[in-house]
């Protein structure tokens, strides 16, 4: 038995589709995704919701799962994500190689950081296995793997000293920004595109804000006031993005990462705008569902909610397939010279396949008798 559509699954489904579109460079529809109206983007939402889901898994349904079970489950999830990352990376490499052969074009072997795999396979395969070599646009799952490993520690801290979790996370975040701590790539010299030491703040915020007590409860009590504060921030973020009002990063004081908008380090400007957006849109799902009950639009909106929630419920499968579809979309754009027509076909087919993937994943469950643990398992 699958769970009913809820806000977390709905927004996660939204994020998955957005990421799929954003990961096809030059796509016509990429001009209309969240990143074009907001400082933060779907990746922030995805990680924040992962933290929120972690809380639901650990304490969902009014019962607290034993600490040992939560830690083991989080570690198992990290392993599952790692396996998924290795699999989609190998498939992506094979896709690039196949396309290169079929189109007789060696440039495709250079796409998305794949050149090292073909040029210097010995160390690069070690890098692929250790996640220190990541293909372009295949760099979210490595972040997620590290975050899940870190989450096992976060859960322990939370169970032992709940009031210390957020301060510990903020301290790590600020240290990462102040001293530019990050993870290196290898064998190619560089750094991870998503710095886990900074991005962990979003996971922890999702985790603590989902809690019914503590800061989560405080936020719920003051949500109206917070929305009033958050709205101008969201509007300002919109104006900065649309009218290119970014501050000159060379003019801000040191440490500069505290004052600039940087995705790698999930800097405060980005983080604050994201939290403001979540605050403002926290009621949106309720209104969308209410809107979907109106007679005129029910036939369209209700299935749309159900579809997005289904994508969100099966986020790992859908994300993996979506990543490969994005790469396919890049190849299609290259082959058909990237017209609006071919872009439309790519988006429609891509989303359809993502939906089919989610449906297929749930078909196994539908065939199975309901189990009490089912709803909490997929986080």
């Amino acid at each position: 038995m699958t769970r009913q559509p809820n806000a977390v699954d709905f927004w996660r489904g939204f994020a998955l589709i957005t990421i799929f579109i954003d990961h096809i460079p030059g796509l016509f529809y990429a001009h209309y995704t969240l990143i074009n109206f907001s400082i933060s983007d779907a990746a922030d939402l995805f990680v924040f919701l992962a933290g929120w889901s972690l809380r639901l898994m650990a304490e969902g349904g009014g019962r607290q799962m034993p600490t040992r079970d939560v830690v083991l489950r989080v570690l198992a999830r990290a392993l599952e994500l790692y396996a998924a990352q290795v699999m989609i990376t190998m498939l992506a490499i094979a896709m690039l190689a196949l396309t290169s052969i079929k189109l007789d074009n060696p440039l495709l072997l250079e796409w998305n950081n794949a050149a090292a795999v073909f040029n210097d396979p010995v160390p690069t395969h070690i890098g692929l296995a250790t996640l220190t070599h990541q293909l372009g646009y295949f760099d979210i799952l490595p972040l997620y793997v590290v975050l899940m490993l870190m989450a096992s520690v976060f859960v322990l801290i939370e169970r032992v000293a709940p009031n210390w979790l957020l301060p510990a996370s903020i301290t790590l975040y600020l240290c990462a920004l102040a001293f530019r701590l990050t993870l290196p790539t290898w064998p190619e010299e560089g750094t991870w595109f998503f710095n886990p030491l900074a991005w962990q703040i979003l996971l922890v915020l999702g985790f603590v804000l989902a809690k019914d007590t503590g800061i989560g409860a405080w936020v719920r009590r003051h949500i109206v006031t917070l929305r009033i504060v958050a709205l101008p921030i969201v509007i300002l973020g919109f104006l900065i993005v649309r009218f290119d009002w970014w501050p000159d990063p060379t003019k801000v004081p040191n440490p500069k990462l505290f004052f600039i908008a940087d995705k790698t380090y999930e800097t405060p400007m980005r983080l604050i705008q994201f939290l403001a957006m979540v605050t403002v849109f926290s009621l949106a799902f309720r209104y969308i569902r209410w809107f979907g009950e109106l007679a005129y639009v029910r036939r369209v909106v209700t299935p749309l909610i159900g579809t997005l929630a289904m994508l969100g419920r099966n986020s790992l499968y859908v994300f993996c397939v979506g990543s490969l579809l994005s790469l396919t979309g890049q190849v299609v754009r290259f082959t058909y010279r990237g017209s609006v027509g071919s872009d439309t076909v790519v988006v429609i087919l891509g989303i359809s396949i993502m939906v089919f993937t989610a449906w297929l994943a749930e078909s196994r469950q539908r065939a199975r008798p309901a189990s009490p643990a089912t709803s909490a398992r997929r986080s």
């Binding site: 440039l107 250079e110 210097d120 010299e189 908008a261 995705k263 754009r333």
Partner: protein
């Protein structure tokens, strides 16, 4: 746009003997004349005079690109420049993201310039935009704005043009992006290492001797080795531009399709 004034070569800094005249390996010499327009690097020259070190921020498709011989092409550039610019410490910072379009790179580059405070940005640009069929006007506007921003922040830039593949020689959009980059570089008086054209000449020369390259990867590998040499040469020429004679660049002949 007014041509930037070239400051005198940095006091106490001189090219190593023969460094600017012939730093190229024999295999790469064929493509030399299609590689770069010689424009000055005033901020690099000033930095060398003041600090005796050179910070280069590498951006674009393949800055950290490794090779079977290790080190990657930016490491090669670093080593060559250290050799060519005697007494100068050269630091290369790689911040490229593979597959990134110029528009996205431009946003990130501003942050990295603020954080790393480079004297020079080495920007390999155009390949991803050409492959993603980004409109030429959009591409030009992005790169032009970015060059303007870098100039206004006293950071020199060396552009590295599009990657080479025989299959792209007659691809109209690829040609448009290549040509627009060349024109823009001339208009803005910045160095562009015309990687595609250089590799095309080398490719034609090697094909006439040994037949079509059978191993594309090995060929590409050699190309990046040459690229490192061209970039190092372009930078040393940019620093000491006044003294260097300029030769007319030959036009590469289109190679027949396989």
């Amino acid at each position: 746009m007014a041509r930037a004034q070239t400051p005198p070569p940095a006091a106490g800094v001189s090219p190593a003997p023969g460094a600017t005249t012939s730093p190229l390996s024999k295999a790469c010499q064929t493509g030399t004349d299609a590689t770069a327009n010689e424009s000055p690097l005033p901020n690099v020259a000033a930095a060398l005079a003041q600090r005796k070190n050179l910070r280069i921020l590498a951006f674009g498709a393949a800055p950290g690109r490794v090779s079977a011989r290790r080190g990657g092409y930016t490491a090669l550039i670093e080593a060559m420049l250290s050799h060519a610019l005697e007494g100068i410490g050269v630091v290369m910072v790689n911040r490229g993201v593979s597959g990134e379009l110029a528009a996205n790179a431009a946003i990130r580059m501003k942050n990295e310039v603020a954080l790393e405070e480079p004297d020079l940005v080495l920007w390999q640009v155009g390949t991803n935009d050409a492959l993603a069929f980004v409109p030429v006007d959009e591409f030009v506007a992005t790169v032009k704005d970015q060059i303007g921003w870098l100039k206004s922040h006293k950071v020199d830039v060396v552009l590295v043009g599009l990657q080479f593949a025989t299959q792209m020689v007659r691809e109209p959009h690829y040609i448009d992006i290549r040509e627009s980059l060349r024109r823009l570089a001339a208009q803005e008086n910045v160095i562009v290492v015309r990687f595609f054209e250089a590799m095309q000449i080398i490719n034609n020369a090697s094909a006439s001797v040994t037949g079509p390259a059978s191993d594309e990867i090995e060929h590409n590998e050699a190309g990046y080795n040459c690229l490192a040499q061209y970039v190092a040469r372009a930078i040393t020429l940019g620093v000491f531009a006044k003294n260097m004679p300029r030769q007319p660049a030959p036009q590469p002949q289109p190679q027949p399709q396989k």
